[in-house]
């Protein structure tokens, strides 16, 4: 039991060091420690399940050790900048004021093709339109084009736009949510009237939503409404 505990502690830190060594591009959307926890817990849980001869504790002790280490580390990451830098690394600037920093590309082992691929995923076709590109600690690329390359906003053009509000789903797949009906400030009378407008019933409605400006969206269950 104590061996399982210490072995897990060793393996946990070795894996974190390995993942940090692999660099951001291998991680995807998880931080190094989260990636290690996901990897370890899945494997550890499988060991006692696959072999009845192995006691359940020998699988549970390492899982509990990993989880408690993760809780501690996430606290330390939150509290200590040094620890955060050590475990998560720092964001790396790949394009600075339009200039591609080849040293940083080499350091993070991102090729130019991969950088261009990442930019395409962010709907950027022309690399010369990018002012800043930053490789974040979770492996994602943040892209900031030059301001003159951005489409004008309503504020820029002085256009009046309707207020945006989140639609509230009143009926989903024929099921009425009374809670959401009240939240939207509506009642059964409004619901009957609205459904009547579409010549529909609750059970023939696939989706009914309403937003703060009273804009209603209705979709019937049958194709083509």
């Amino acid at each position: 039991m104590i061996l399982s505990f210490f072995r897990t502690v060793i393996v946990y830190f070795v894996l974190i060091a390995t993942v940090r060594l692999m660099g951001k591009r291998q991680i995807g959307q998880l931080e190094a420690s989260e990636f290690v926890v996901a990897m370890l817990v899945a494997d550890l849980a499988a060991i006692p399940l696959q072999n009845n001869g192995i006691s359940l504790l020998s699988g549970l002790v390492p899982i509990l050790a990993v989880v408690s280490l993760e809780l501690l580390l996430s606290f330390l990451i939150m509290k200590s900048v040094v620890f955060r830098k050590f475990l998560c690394g720092k964001p790396v600037i790949l394009i600075d004021n339009g200039k591609i920093l080849t040293d940083n590309l080499r350091r993070t082992r991102v090729t130019l093709d991969e950088l261009v691929g990442h930019l395409r995923q962010k709907d950027v076709l022309d690399i010369s339109t990018v002012q800043y590109a930053i490789l974040e600690t979770d492996g994602n690329l943040s892209v900031f084009p030059y301001l003159q390359e951005l489409p004008p906003t309503a504020r820029d053009t002085g256009t009046e736009v309707p207020e945006q509000s989140l639609p509230i789903t009143i009926i989903a797949d024929g099921v009425l949510s009374r809670e959401d009906l009240i939240r939207a400030g509506k009642n059964e009378v409004w619901l009957r009237k609205t459904l009547g407008k579409y010549k529909a019933r609750q059970d023939t409605t696939l989706l009914l939503t309403v937003d703060r400006s009273d804009a209603v969206t209705w979709i019937g269950k049958k194709a083509g409404n």
Binding site: I2, G53, S55, L56, L57, S68, L72
Partner: protein, 134 residues
């Protein structure tokens, strides 16, 4: 301090508590299994010696006491150790019973020594040593 932060702090304490419990219970189990396996192996060594000097009464008593001790501790060990090793020891105890009944001095002593070795190994496997760790 807002609620979110206090929840994070609580989790941190849960982490510390969990690590503490695992550490203390792990060390406890390690010490306990080492002590119990040493006692059991000692009893079996004594039984083997008694059998070789043809003191069957002491040898049979030693065997019976060791078997009783083993059965008492079996459940705790089954929770911690690999079941294959425990089954091997169970088999050796069964063989020892046969040799004890047959008063087969040499075989009895050999099985006793094998059993003592296996039980010591079981205790050693739970010990916190650098060679076990690595």
């Amino acid at each position: 301090m807002d609620r979110k932060e206090s929840r994070k702090l609580n989790r941190e304490w849960i982490g510390i508590l969990l690590l503490g419990v695992l550490l203390v219970s792990g060390i406890g189990v390690s010490v306990l299994t080492h002590r119990q396996s040493s006692t059991l192996a000692g009893t079996l060594d004594a039984a083997a010696g008694a059998a070789l000097s043809e003191d069957w009464e002491t040898a049979a008593q030693g065997y019976a006491s060791a078997r009783q001790d083993w059965q008492k501790r079996w459940k705790l060990l089954a929770v911690l150790a690999d079941h294959a090793a425990l089954e091997e020891i169970d088999d050796l105890f069964t063989q020892l019973g046969v040799h004890s009944a047959a008063r087969d001095r040499r075989e009895f002593a050999v099985i006793c020594a094998q059993l003592a070795g296996r039980i010591r190994q079981l205790g050693q496997h739970q010990q916190l040593t650098w060679w076990n760790l690595l």
